[in-house]
């Protein structure tokens, strides 16, 4: 049992590969999955005499990101060399940005699940985001005891996004990473494909006794490429640090790797004396100047951002913060939802939300489909919602219709309702007749109800629904049955 109340401090550095056509400093392709070294041109393999030239598309995406997080886009930023030796770093230095990055400041507002079914709001501030080049890849499979180097990835444009150490739990870290992931896809600067390495997280983790102003010594967990690993790695690391300190040890600054098989973090062996990167401005590149006209143009081309759209959903459609956030997790989902509401009417916005986040999401998840590949179109879903709203069908029947739409049994909700005769029965006369039949056939239940057994009422309702093949309007059944039973 801990004697100390520990506070966890987490900052994330996230490397996003920008979805340009070519590399940040050369005209080679960045397409994933090519044969080794066929997309590594002279500049990428650092032949003697080659020089870097900056890709405008990478800069444009950095500007877009800066605007999306409310940061300052630096009018002048400088590329610097980060010097160290590693086989996947052909020049022996990485071109990055050090003292003057292209984006400064900014923030992301999150909803963090509280573990009890609810969620709370949190703002995470960003320190900076800067442009740099990715390194190549090392393949450690056996080449007679050697490592194989593939430089296709060397030179891929990266935007490194650095947060302030504002997070206090793995849940907050994951929520932040997810929100950032959704945002970079939303503004179309990164495809977010974590298996392909498009979005990689490094977590800086430290602990301190609650109330202490100074930060504890932090360790950096590198290269986490799934949200699950991010959470597991942080949780393990936190416990490891606490255990160490409580046993009388001191946390040494280190770079650590997470082993998904064991669930443990482990300090990297080869890190000799702390790196001295000897940063200095790259003399092969001139300062990057971004004028306000360019920023304004990019601003004008930005789509409505998730935060703004979420606020609109809450304001105009009365959705909860949680629902609005869920629906703005991706641009595709948000667009789908907007299309459904446009067709079904704003008055039905909440019902639309429930269906998109409920039945549709569940089926898409099970089938491992993206919403853009949904067999049920927004128009079709809107048609379904409209028929619930005007009482043509009950919720229960609607689920049947949804299934039918999903399997492609009909072109529209109406077509299916018609073909399968699913219209809800709302004629009181017809309902009365059904009720009378049921009452007649279920004397026992009637007597039990009259004797005070509440459950018998539900049983009778059930029988009525069954007798009507589920088509009777449940509310009316309840009402009329109550009246009849007195």
């Amino acid at each position: 049992m801990s004697r100390t109340d520990w506070e966890v401090v987490i900052g994330l550095e996230i490397h996003t590969q920008l979805n340009t056509q070519s590399k940040i400093f050369s005209g080679a392709s960045i397409a994933f999955g090519a044969e080794p070294n066929v997309q590594a041109c002279g500049v990428d393999i650092a032949l003697p005499g080659v020089l870097p030239v900056l890709n405008k598309g990478a800069v444009e995406r950095a500007i877009r990101f800066g605007l999306a997080i409310g940061a300052t886009v630096a009018p002048k930023s400088v590329f610097a060399r980060k010097n160290y030796f590693y086989p996947d770093l052909p020049k022996g230095y990485q071109i990055s940005q050090f003292e003057l990055p292209v984006v400064v400041g900014g923030h992301i507002d999150l909803l963090v699940p509280d573990g009890k079914g609810g969620a709370y709001e949190k703002r995470v501030n960003l320190t900076r985001a800067h442009l740099e080049e990715d390194a190549g890849k090392s393949l450690h499979e056996d080449f007679h005891g050697m490592t194989g180097i593939d430089l296709n990835r060397a030179g891929t444009p990266l935007l490194e996004i650095v947060s302030e150490p504002d997070m206090r739990s793995s849940a907050e870290a994951v929520a932040y990473a997810r929100a950032l992931h959704a945002l970079v896809r939303w503004i179309d600067i990164c495809d977010g494909n974590m298996q392909e390495g498009s979005f990689r997280c490094d977590a800086n983790v430290s602990v301190r006794p609650r109330g202490q102003a100074e930060f504890g010594t932090r360790r950096e967990i590198k290269n986490l490429n799934s949200f699950r690993f991010l959470q597991q790695a942080i949780d393990y690391e936190i416990q490891w640090q606490i255990d160490l300190i409580e046993d009388g040890g001191k946390v040494q600054q280190a770079t650590v790797l997470f082993d998904p098989d064991t669930g443990e973090t482990r300090a990297m062996r080869s890190k000799e004396d702390a790196h001295d990167y000897r940063y200095f401005p790259d003399p092969d590149l001139l300062p990057l100047v971004i004028d306000s006209a360019w920023i304004e143009r990019v601003k004008g081309e930005l789509p409505e951002l998730p935060a703004a759209l979420s606020a609109r959903f809450q304001g105009e459609y009365g959705l909860s913060a949680y629902d609005a956030t869920t629906l703005t997790a991706s641009r595709e989902t948000a667009q789908y939802y907007l299309d459904v509401v446009a067709a079904a009417g704003a008055a039905n916005a909440k019902t639309c939300a429930n269906w998109v986040m409920g039945d549709l999401a569940a089926r898409l998840n099970k089938a491992e489909l993206d919403i853009t590949a949904s067999p049920v179109s927004a128009a079709q879903l809107a048609g379904l919602v409209a028929r619930i709203a005007d009482n043509t069908i009950s919720n229960a029947i609607a689920k049947k219709v949804f299934e039918a739409l999903w399997s492609g049994e009909g072109e529209s909700a109406d077509a299916i309702i018609e073909a399968q005769g699913l219209k809800q029965v709302t004629d009181s006369g017809a309902i009365e007749a059904i009720i009378d039949e049921v009452l007649a056939a279920n004397q026992k239940s009637v007597e039990e109800f009259r004797a005070g057994k509440e459950k018998a009422f539900n049983a009778l309702v059930g029988q009525c629904m069954k007798a009507s093949k589920g088509k009777a309007n449940p509310a009316q059944v309840n009402e009329i049955l109550k009246k009849k039973l007195g």
Binding site: G49, F280, D284, L285
Partner: protein, 486 residues
């Protein structure tokens, strides 16, 4: 015929009194006969030269020849030449056949110049005497016990010994101007950014600039014009219109204000150099120039500033030489780190290693501000000094070297002694200004003395014009060494 001016050679080619093949053959024969004692060439490409000469003859025949078509040319071995060894004077690249052409090489190929070979140089352009080459020292054609100057000593010697009429070089702290002076020929370094550095193996990126050697200012103008121009593959290559460097050759000197920096005429020059320089300046006055005393108060700091900035940039530029993708790899090593350390220790000579160590140190943590930043600040002061001086004059003149060529081995035991020979030239590179050296007479031992002319940014034509006027009235530049033939 290759002893004639480029104009005369071109006329003869047009008149078909000589063919490009004959010129190339003659050049190759002279190299064969003379280079044994000079060692100006690392690689002679007989096959390539004759093929290029045949192509040049075809162009001359169909009337599409330019001023350089068919002219034999040597490239300093710092320029990447596709399919031809490019060694940079180093064991590190002794086996490196470049897979691509430098921009300058492409330009001169397109102009129809006929490359006969690659010239010897100080290893990785670091040196002022051409004694540090892996291919052995180059000897001064005027006295083969003396140095030719460096780092472009091979190119200077090749032109001085009349093996080729023109050659390319590079100048980072004086490496075109100094060997030109010590070998009795004309050599020019243009404004930083006017000659593409793409394919020009980097020593100090913010100081390196490609330059031209010839036996006259007029011929330098032809070669330099063909080398200049914007290259989109070099981010430091200036986008502007480039004038013909020979545009001002005929301009008389009347009214030209020549500034004489008092700091260049204090002690430091040997008496024989002073006598020749003074006489040359007197000749300029006789030709109509006015002399003005100017001051470059921070000139004395150019050497320490240069020997911080150049090694710093070099230490990073040379990190790519690691034995992984090209160049020398050690035969024996225990692990990756050992491979790096041994390959680089074996591949680099002592001067290169020293400069890498100096550069690594001045960029390292805790020293960056005191050294690198300090040097960059001095750089600005030096540039400002020149700007102020140029308010009072059009061209600055002074000695190129403090002495005539010294003996091989005389200064190799103390690097600092070697560095101090750069006192008149390095400030120019720090400021990025254009400058040339032309023959001004002879000193002790019958060895050549050069006069340096420094111009305002983009005023190459003025410099060459002034030198040309001097060369119309004098004949120092026509003197040739007596080279013993094998």
């Amino acid at each position: 015929m290759i002893d004639s001016s480029l104009k005369d050679i071109a006329a003869a080619l047009r008149a078909k009194t000589v063919s490009a093949v004959e010129l190339a053959t003659d050049s190759l024969a002279r190299i064969q006969a003379r280079d044994g004692q000079i060692n100006a060439f690392v690689t002679v490409d007989e096959g390539g030269a004759l093929a290029a000469a045949r192509a040049a003859d075809a162009r001359i025949k169909d009337g599409s020849a330019g001023p350089l078509t068919g002219i034999p040319l040597a490239h300093k071995d710092v320029f990447c030449t596709e399919g031809v060894l490019t060694t940079c004077g180093s064991k590190m690249l002794a086996n490196f056949t470049s897979p691509y052409d430098a921009h300058v090489v492409s330009l001169l190929k397109a102009a129809g110049a006929v490359m006969v070979g690659k010239t010897n140089m100080d290893e990785f352009a670091m040196g002022s005497s051409n004694e540090s080459s892996h291919a052995g020292p180059t000897r001064n054609p005027w006295d083969t016990t003396k140095v030719p100057g460096g780092s472009s000593g091979g190119s200077a010697a090749a032109v001085a010994a009349r093996m080729v009429p023109i050659a390319t070089g590079t100048d980072t702290g004086g490496s075109v101007r100094q060997p030109a002076a010590l070998c009795g020929i004309t050599g020019i370094k243009p404004t930083y950014g006017s000659v593409s550095r793409f394919g020009m193996i980097a020593y100090a990126s913010s100081l390196d600039q490609g330059g031209a050697f010839a036996r006259s200012a007029e011929d330098c103008a032809t070669l330099l014009t063909a080398m200049m121009g914007h290259d989109p593959r070099d981010s430091t290559s200036l986008e502007r219109s480039y004038d013909d460097c020979g545009a001002s050759l005929a301009q008389p000197l009347a009214g030209l204000r020549i500034g004489l920096p008092r700091e260049f005429f204090a002690e430091g020059m040997s008496d024989d150099v002073r006598a020749a320089v003074d006489a040359a300046i007197a000749e300029y006055r006789r030709l109509g120039a006015t002399l003005v005393e100017v001051s470059l108060p921070n000139a004395r700091l150019a050497i320490p500033a240069y020997y911080v900035i150049a090694p710093a940039e070099a230490s990073s530029n040379l990190s790519r030489f690691d034995g992984v993708r090209y160049g020398h790899r050690a035969a024996q090593y225990t692990d990756l780190n050992d491979m790096y350390c041994k390959s680089r220790a074996e591949g680099f000579g002592p001067e290169v290693k020293r400069r890498i160590l100096v550069g690594t140190y001045v960029l390292s943590h805790g020293y960056y501000d005191a050294y690198y930043i300090k040097a960059q600040k001095l750089r600005r002061l030096i540039a400002q000094d020149f700007a102020a001086a140029f308010e009072q004059c059009d061209i600055i003149a002074g000695p190129t070297n403090p002495t005539v060529a010294y003996g091989l081995g005389e200064k190799t035991s103390d690097p600092v002694q070697m560095y101090l020979g750069d006192i008149y030239t390095v400030a120019v590179n720090l400021a990025g200004l254009p400058a040339l050296s032309h023959p001004a007479g002879f000193g002790a031992g019958g060895l050549p003395v050069g006069l340096q002319l420094i111009g305002k940014y983009f005023h190459e034509a003025n410099l060459l014009g002034a030198a040309h006027q001097f060369q119309q009235a004098t004949d120092w530049h026509t003197r040739a060494p007596a080279v013993q033939e094998a």
